[in-house]
């Protein structure tokens, strides 16, 4: 798989605005962003209301995903191009989610909404309705999704990559700093997890760094790329960005995203937690 199979730039998108097989999908943390202006022809996907089960903490079921994509007018053979705000965090999350349910042809717009805006490219408020489809999903591909027991078993043996900011890793912040810090879970990180913030994989404008830069980033931070990797953050969206880098751009075969992430791990009773800037030992503890 090459970078052009999974990542497109603004010129590519502009050249395919009238391509009936290409579906642009905007996914934002701020779901009102789409209403203020989006790329021509793009449909909106609400990461919270549409991609999460309404009752328990989990994703929508296979049939729920099929109904959602059918309603959005997305077919199995469409090329889906995802983009969004927050440096594509939620677009990368949706990318991983589409892969989880077996959609083959999905790509990210490099730099997402920010790069598009910084280039002063056209946005519209016109909303289009796509004809409904009969989308068929596969069962979830569990080889790319980690659960809490996978993380506990990986402590001290597999690569665990904490992609939150250094202050969240150390326990000085409990959430990204654009959100209030009042949280119920404990601060800190999974013992032995390496701190490699998602942002190190991207330039200031949100585009991804080169493959060579990315490889040296992870190897330089002590990640053995021959060993399986679990990435996590707070709710699994920033770690989907890193999953995209490791699995899709660098072609690492065994990389899982732990979508429970710190809001689950930091709330569990009796599991080891490490405070401070160092990975720590398997038992965890104060810095």
């Amino acid at each position: 798989m090459s970078r052009s199979d999974v990542l497109v730039d603004a010129e590519w998108v502009e050249a395919h605005l009238s391509d009936p097989n290409v579906v642009l999908v905007e996914v934002d943390e701020d779901v009102s962003a789409y209403d203020k202006g989006h790329i021509q022809g793009a449909v909106r996907l609400d990461w919270k209301d549409e991609l999460q089960d309404a009752v328990r903490r989990d994703f929508v079921s296979k049939s729920g995903f099929e109904a959602l994509l059918s309603r959005k007018g997305i077919s199995n053979d469409n090329t889906v191009v995802l983009y969004g705000g927050n440096n594509n965090w939620f677009a990368a999350y949706a990318y991983w989610y589409f892969k989880l349910y077996g959609h083959n042809d999905v790509k990210l717009l490099d730099g997402g909404r920010k790069r598009w805006e910084l280039d002063s490219r056209a946005l519209t408020t016109e909303v289009i309705e796509r004809p409904h489809t009969a989308y068929v999903a596969t069962e979830q591909d569990r080889s790319i999704r980690a659960f809490r027991d996978d993380v506990l078993a990986a402590i001290g043996s597999l690569n665990i990559v904490d992609v939150r900011s250094p202050d969240e890793y150390a326990g000085r912040l409990l959430a990204p700093a654009h959100l209030p810090q009042e949280q119920s879970q404990r601060g800190g990180h999974v013992p032995t997890a390496r701190s490699i913030p998602w942002s190190k994989a991207a330039n200031d404008d949100g585009t991804f760094r080169s493959d060579d830069e990315l490889t040296s980033l992870y190897e330089g931070a002590g990640v053995d790329l021959a060993v399986d990797t679990i990435a996590y953050c707070r709710i699994g969206e920033r770690s989907a960005h890193t999953w995209f880098v490791l699995h899709e751009l660098l072609g690492q075969p065994n990389v899982k995203n732990y979508d429970g992430s710190w809001t689950e791990y930091g709330s569990m009773v009796g599991v080891p937690v490490q405070l401070g800037d160092a990975p720590g030992s398997a038992e965890g503890g104060a810095a």
């Binding site: 701020d30 250094p166 202050d167 959430a175 700093a177 654009h178 959100l179 707070r234």
Partner: protein, 98 residues
């Protein structure tokens, strides 16, 4: 996680005694810049958070006590860095000119 924070000077509804808030406005000679991007970098220069400015050019962060750098990206302008100190219980107000 709810919707992204859009900036604003009102701290109504926020318990400012428990937060170390950094907020302000991005302006140019032509007035406030909406849809600029403000990045919050920690003491080592590492990214911590980012928000787009509101239509009135405002932004807000909930930081930890310490010294931070704000970096502003906006269409057609060079990026601008600005140092700011945050303290719990204090709202640090910053105007950044690009």
């Amino acid at each position: 996680m709810c919707g992204a924070t859009t900036g604003g000077l009102s701290v109504e509804g926020i318990d400012v005694t428990t937060e170390a808030i950094i907020q302000g406005v991005v302006v140019s000679d032509a007035g406030p810049i909406g849809r600029a991007y403000v990045r919050l970098l920690d003491g080592t220069g590492e990214f911590t958070a980012e928000v787009p400015t509101s239509p009135t050019g405002h932004f807000r962060f909930f930081a930890a006590p310490g010294t931070w750098t704000l970096r502003v990206l906006s269409p057609g302008n060079e990026s601008v860095d600005r140092s700011v100190a945050a303290e719990r219980g204090v709202v640090a107000e910053v105007e950044i000119r690009v």
